[in-house]
Symmetry: C2
């Protein structure tokens, strides 16, 4: 099973109609689409991406599915999540790396990534789920990976359980998935 399929399966088990969720890195919009599907008509999904292209691709994808009414898309850094979202959320997704098919020079950066994680983990409601998928096979990827891994290790155990999941018998830096379950 691909890690992205695992992410969608975990989201499906967690989210109910009417829930709130955030996609911290819209990219090509697949996670945003899945979140919109799961929260239903009465739910709300907050999407973030610093690239115009990602926002427009995602917008088009949601429009085609008839989901535009259940999403708010922001063309800004996910580190602004705390200022843009004014309610608790039940789940968030974050894919670290570069936009597939996009400009490989525009990558997520350690500082804003950790700031976003701080904001999103605070927005999560009890029982909420954070899914962070780290691709790190690109220049700068390792530095960001280390920053995130340190952040995860240092989260107080009272916050909840943080599970690190990795495929060990595959070459070429297979992604690492962090599953954050808030108490």
């Amino acid at each position: 099973m691909q890690m992205v399929d695992r992410v969608h399966q975990l989201l499906s088990e967690k989210l109910k109609p009417g829930d709130r969720a955030a996609d911290a890195t819209m990219g090509n919009g697949w996670d945003t689409l899945k979140l919109c599907e799961l929260v239903g008509e009465r739910g709300m999904v907050y999407g973030f991406d610093i690239q115009e292209k990602a926002v427009s691709t995602t917008k088009e994808r949601l429009e085609n599915a008839g989901f535009l009414g259940r999403a708010k898309l922001f063309c800004c850094s996910h580190s602004e999540a705390g200022e843009r979202i004014h309610e608790n959320i039940q789940a968030f997704t974050m894919n670290l790396g570069y936009l597939p098919g996009g400009d490989k020079k525009i990558i997520t950066r350690s500082e804003s990534t950790v700031a976003a994680l701080r904001a999103l983990t605070q927005l999560l409601s009890p029982g909420g789920l954070g899914l962070v998928l780290i691709y790190y096979g690109h220049p700068g990827g390792n530095e960001e990976k280390e920053a995130v891994e340190t952040f995860m290790k240092e989260m107080p155990s009272e916050w909840g359980e943080i599970l690190r999941t990795e495929i060990v018998n595959r070459k070429n830096c297979p992604p690492i998935l962090y599953i954050m379950e808030k108490k």
Copy 2:
């Protein structure tokens, strides 16, 4: 969620009535009991433990549940799994460490553990699931952990996917769970 609950959840998603399964380390018999419940009347569970006490505790537990007819319990090393099981299995569980409440000097050992893993991964049918839970906070535990981690990394990717799962924000050596999914 405790790792042992995760193990039982994954088994519940995988096993169907009539399936075959193995518990490589019966210990107090909780995994054997769960496996017997899941494979049903027409299924079969093979249990292994080198300690008489583990075998008798497990036997009693199965008897009370009315499951004795669907299990074969062996008081021998799990490294003999290849000689004792003469059919494919759909899942196996293995808990590495010492028997909770038992003699802490009797622990699973790297050599027999790796031999057992070799045998059990060969017995798994396509789509089968192997769950290996490593407790390593005891003397000798770290050596066994390393041997298992090396075994896992060296499994050919053609065999299937090997997922390593660990809680990162908890002290005192929380267990590591390996999820092996055969292609």
